[in-house]
């Protein structure tokens, strides 16, 4: 199945084909997008079936490596590695990617730059596929950065508007702040084992010095926090919703934000060597999970709700990694990818139909667009963790692992997060689909919307109870949730959902909270001041600092230069007088030459040829004098 190596190549080819075409042709050829990603999906599924029933992650089915260049005395290698985890991820990314591509045909059909949109989306998909198939951290990092660029381009796709421009630069810089951690981790890893090959890294890691392990671990956590929108780098994701909705579905729900989790999972044997690193991951994850869920409750923009929900769910995966439970994290990563991109696509249809993103202006949509409502409901139930949808199984797997790892506090916090999740899901669902209809023109989605969203809904329905057959692919033991576990989590979910119903029926909205506790509501409105922190502590001072340095550059550093030049001119004038009094030899001519140069401002205007001669002559004279001096000195020695 060497075809598997070409999975990233199909979308990459599509990018190359579209990138250099004139806009008109690019717009005509947008069909290349779904076709090529479709090919990738077919190959990935064939690969999945071919290697069924899978195998251990440490035993790749296929590897392919080549030398990037010789560095020092060794070859710098780059490689692809197809193992069971890579195949699962390839299948997930390409299937979600295909759905998003098809959906985009509809969603972007009237945009005059739709060709460029597909072009960037193809590059993005290629990068994500390359990342998951990579057996080498350097290649992963390259793909990781390219995804950041594509995300920037897609968030800022409607660049004439202020909001997307601000959001795109914010997203790129915040994630890049994380990437610096990856960068440093690579430098440390190279110092520790002289290679970026995963196999070499994992083999040698047990003998690394403890300081290297901790540095690599913390740097990678930082990098993953950037990409996966964890605290304190979570601020970019809610703003990133300014881009086209289907792009958010793949980038900010299913793939790029999951890349952080994936890379940590790949590097787990290294991270697991340090209890400190794991603890940080655990606590950052669970706190982010609660933070995201809490803020999602108070959002009124449907995409923002989903964005905070994503932050929260990714936090749960982060926490799962923090107790070393890769299987549970990957399980939730994959189910979440399907149901969250479903929610985004369905939300896109709703936004398209109603012309608003504010859930308070929606209402009553179940009658106007029943199919999309049904599909959205599937995603919402899965997010809330209702039996037997996939989200229920994967979430419980993570909760189970908290208990196994003897982390009762984290487990309790996880339940709190689950309750909050059910709350905002119920509240949103009720507000959007029931009550009075504000939009009389809203209509059912087109076929091109319903087919891909429906496909994602099918996956959301099936992936949970079939987990044994597909997650078992990783050669891990998959346990279905135990009855007590399921009871507890379902109970918590019901409590949360009931609270959501209560809030909805009693019309307890943000205004109600603002009236009771204005300060609390203000804090929630300001996202608990995370954005303000960056603006006040980093961005604002940086503007000041850069202006300060700039004026210092002109006054102090350049001031010294100019002062030196001025005093030198005075000195040469003095030397000129001294010269008249008869100082001969080298000093004499040297001073004269410099004087020519320093008073040249006047002279260049009188004639270039003369000045030119003087320069040339000056330089040559200087050289000759020095050489003679050397000759004399040499003779003297």
């Amino acid at each position: 199945m060497t075809w598997l190596f070409f999975i990233p190549a199909f979308p990459a080819l599509g990018f190359l084909a579209l990138a250099f075409l004139p806009r008109v042709w690019r717009n005509r050829l947008v069909y290349l997008g779904p076709v090529l990603v479709g090919v990738s999906a077919v190959v990935a599924v064939m690969g999945f079936l071919h290697y069924y029933p899978g195998g251990e992650v440490s035993h790749p089915f296929l590897t392919y490596s080549w030398a990037l260049a010789r560095m020092g005395s060794t070859q710098l290698l780059i490689s692809f590695k197809i193992d069971s985890l890579a195949i699962l991820m390839l299948a997930m990314v390409s299937i979600v990617g295909l759905c998003v591509q098809i959906y985009s045909l509809f969603y972007m059909k009237d945009d005059e730059r739709r060709g460029w949109y597909f072009c960037v989306l193809l590059l993005f998909t290629a990068a994500m596929l390359a990342l998951v198939a990579s057996g080498n951290l350097l290649l992963m990092f390259a793909a990781w950065e390219l995804m950041g660029v594509c995300s920037y381009l897609l968030i800022g796709f409607w660049y004439t508007k202020e909001e997307p421009r601000r959001a795109s630069i914010k997203a790129f810089l915040v994630t890049r702040a994380g990437d610096v951690g990856f960068f440093i981790a690579l430098a440390v890893i190279y110092g520790a084992c002289g290679s970026f090959e995963l196999s070499t890294i994992l083999r040698t890691a047990p003998s690394w010095p403890a300081a290297s392990v901790v540095t690599v671990g913390i740097c990678l956590l930082w990098a993953a926090a950037g990409k996966s929108a964890q605290l304190p780098l979570s601020v970019w994701l809610p703003d990133a919703m300014a881009g086209p909705t289907p792009a958010s579905a793949i980038i900010h729900a299913a793939t790029m934000v999951a890349a952080g989790i994936f890379v940590l999972a790949r590097m787990m044997p290294v991270l697991a060597q340090s209890a400190l690193v794991l603890h940080i991951a655990l606590w950052v994850g669970i706190i982010t999970a609660i933070f995201g869920a809490l803020l999602a409750v108070f959002q009124t923009d449907i995409k923002r709700i989903l964005a905070f929900s994503t932050i929260s769910q990714l936090g749960l995966m982060f926490a799962a990694l923090g107790i070393g439970s890769i299987d549970a994290a990957i399980f939730h990563l994959i189910t979440h990818a399907f149901f969250k991109s479903l929610l985004f696509l369905a939300a896109g249809s709703i936004i398209h139909a109603t012309g608003t993103q504010d859930i308070r202006k929606m209402g009553g949509l179940v009658r106007r667009m029943p199919i999309i409502s049904l599909i959205f409901t599937v995603g919402a139930l899965s997010l809330a963790g209702v039996v037997p949808l996939s989200g229920f199984f994967s979430k419980d797997a993570i909760f189970e692992s908290f208990l196994v790892a003897h982390q009762p506090v984290v487990f309790a916090l996880g339940l709190l997060m689950a309750a909050l999740t059910a709350l905002y899901v119920a509240k949103t669902w009720l507000t959007v689909f029931f009550g009075d209809a504000h939009n009389t023109e809203a209509h059912e989605g087109a076929l091109l919307e319903i087919i891909p969203t429906g496909l994602l809904a099918v996956f959301t329905l099936l992936l949970g109870f079939t987990a044994k057959s597909w997650l078992g692919y990783l050669d891990v033991h998959v346990e279905m949730p135990t009855i007590p576990m399921a009871t507890i989590s379902t109970g918590v979910m019901i409590v949360g959902a009931a609270a959501g119903f209560f809030l909805y029926l009693r019309h307890i909205d943000n205004d109600w909270f603002a009236a009771r506790s204005p300060r609390l509501m203000k804090a929630l409105d300001a996202r608990l001041y995370t954005d303000a922190f960056y603006e006040k502590v980093i961005v604002g001072p940086y503007f000041g600092l850069s202006n300060l340095f700039w004026s210092l550059d002109r006054t102090v550093i350049d001031g010294v230069v100019n002062a030196a030049a001025t005093s030198y001119r005075r000195l040469t004038a003095f030397a000129w007088r001294a010269d008249a009094h008869g100082i001969d030899g080298a000093v004499n001519t040297l001073a004269a030459t410099v004087r020519h140069a320093s008073t040249l401002t006047r002279k260049v205007e009188t004639g270039h040829v003369r000045a030119y001669q003087r320069f040339t002559v000056g330089a040559v004279i200087l050289l000759i004098i020095v050489l003679f001096a050397v000759l004399i000195l040499k003779g003297a020695m």
Partner: protein, 490 residues
């Protein structure tokens, strides 16, 4: 063959000089032809070059002033060949970018060709006196290009450029003479062994002082903070082509000086200088990036970004490891291509609007989509996005610095922050300049023309080629990096 490459543009200088005034518009064709011939001859050298070796090739060694042991001594190795290639390529591009020069075209193109001779000479000379001579030749045409075809404050900028770098080269000359007095040789290859007798290189030994003289001379040229203030002035005032050459290739003379002379000849002194150079390099990275962020003039912004990027190259050198030296060489080639592209593109907009004020330029993407694509590409390359050449150098530099025995790890972290700050000023420039709604100055301007695209395209191709296939560059750089690492003893 090598001498042909160096001196062939002189034919053009003579031809242009002989050209009657009536035919002065033909001078650009002469210049273009000869620069293309020159570039082609370097391409030929590339094909004949034996890769994977650190030995000098195509060596010519003729007695010149035998009394003083001075030779006409030239050669190429993996360090100089890529730089020679970059230099001759940039000349073709720069001459194409000067197509609309109507003020004294004869003098202008003659100066360009003369500059080309000087640069090729610098990168091939193996005798210190010959090196110094070419080094000085470079100064003169550049001085005139700035002072005659530059902007409003061109005289100030030109004088500053000249005096500053001239002062630097005086220090270099002192170093050259001191080396000669100590060893009796001007031969860079011989000196690699001969200079061992100059004390241990610790503070106060002769080797330490000679290194100091060279380092100062080269640091001005690079430029390393705090010797950088000539650069923004020169850049802003210089005409487009001169900016391209200044950033693209002349700054690399300083780096080349470190890698060709200071480090291999005085490796023991270098070990004692590593920390100082490393710190100054890191300051350059951060400082350049911070000051670039405050700029309101696009050209000045790119000029300060050069200070920052050159900081990476210097950090790579200071690391003293194979990866670091590779990184420094990669940065110098890659920055030549990328800064070249940025200055060309800025020039194209300046020709249309006669302003470089970012505040007056916005919304380019809506009016000139192809130009916007080219500029965004160059910006991403400058930010060090993988698969483009900018990444290679920054990456290897950081990797090499971490493994360095004599540099603290904090420098790597600070340089990492520098990468982030690099993204900040570049993205902010893009946000204001490329995106947004078109400003009056931009409204109605024609998109990038075929000639303008021709100037940028070859550079873009190299940026992608090097960024994807690192081996293209590293096959030349690595043997030298290994040799330098051995010399330094890291």
């Amino acid at each position: 063959m090598l001498s042909f490459t160096i001196f062939v543009p002189l034919i053009g200088v003579v031809l242009i000089a002989l050209l009657p005034k009536k035919l002065e518009s033909a001078s650009k064709w002469i210049a273009l032809t000869l620069s293309v011939v020159d570039f082609a001859s370097v391409v030929y050298l590339f094909t004949q070059f034996k890769r994977g070796s650190d030995a000098m090739q195509f060596v010519t060694r003729l007695p010149w002033i035998p009394q003083l042991n001075i030779f006409y001594h030239q050669g190429l190795d993996g360090l100089s060949l890529p730089l020679l290639g970059l230099s001759t390529l940039l000349f073709v591009v720069a001459i194409l970018a000067s197509w609309k020069i109507t003020h004294k075209p004869k003098l202008y193109f003659a100066m360009m060709l003369l500059l080309s001779v000087g640069l090729s000479g610098v990168f091939t000379a193996l005798d210190l006196v010959l090196f110094y001579l070419f080094w000085e030749i470079v100064l003169i045409p550049m001085y005139f290009l700035i002072s005659e075809w530059g902007g409003e404050r061109r005289h100030y900028a030109a004088i500053k450029f000249f005096l500053y770098t001239f002062l630097g080269s005086v220090f270099m000359l002192v170093g050259i003479v001191a080396l000669y007095l100590a060893t009796g040789s001007f031969d860079m290859i011989v000196l690699r062994h001969a200079a061992a007798s100059l004390g241990g290189g610790a503070f106060g030994t002769p080797a330490w002082w000679i290194f100091a003289a060279f380092a100062l001379g080269f640091a001005v040229k690079v430029p390393v903070w705090p010797f950088h203030t000539w650069l923004p002035d020169a850049h802003v005032q210089a005409p487009t082509a001169a900016s391209v050459l200044l950033a693209g290739i002349m700054l690399k003379m300083g780096l080349y000086g470190f890698l060709r002379i200071a480090v291999p000849i005085l490796p023991q002194a270098f070990v004692h200088w590593q920390l100082i150079i490393g710190i100054l390099a890191t300051v350059s990275i951060i400082y350049g990036a911070i000051v670039a962020f405050a700029q309101t003039d696009i050209k000045k912004l790119v000029a300060y970004s050069s200070v920052s990027h050159m900081g990476f190259a210097m950090l790579g050198i200071a690391a003293g490891t194979a990866a670091g030296f590779n990184g420094a060489m990669a940065v110098s080639i890659s920055h030549g291509l990328i800064a070249g592209m940025l200055f060309l593109l800025v020039g194209h907009v300046y020709e249309r609007t006669h302003t470089r004020e970012i505040a007056k330029l916005s919304g380019v993407a809506a009016v000139m989509p192809r130009y916007a694509a080219a500029f965004s590409f160059a910006s991403f390359a400058a930010m060090g996005v993988p698969l483009l050449s900018g990444f290679v150098g920054e990456f290897l530099t950081l990797v090499g610095t971490w493994s360095s025995k004599n540099l603290p790890h904090i420098l790597v972290i600070l340089a990492g922050v520098g990468i982030l700050l690099g993204g900040a000023y570049m993205l902010w420039l893009m946000q204001r300049f490329i995106f947004g709604t078109p400003s009056p100055a931009i409204e109605g301007q024609p998109d990038i023309t075929a000639r303008e695209m021709t100037t940028v395209l070859p550079l873009a191709v190299c940026v992608v080629a090097i960024g994807v296939f690192w081996v293209i560059l590293l096959q030349y750089a690595n043997p030298i990096a290994v040799m330098l690492q051995k010399a330094v003893g890291a």
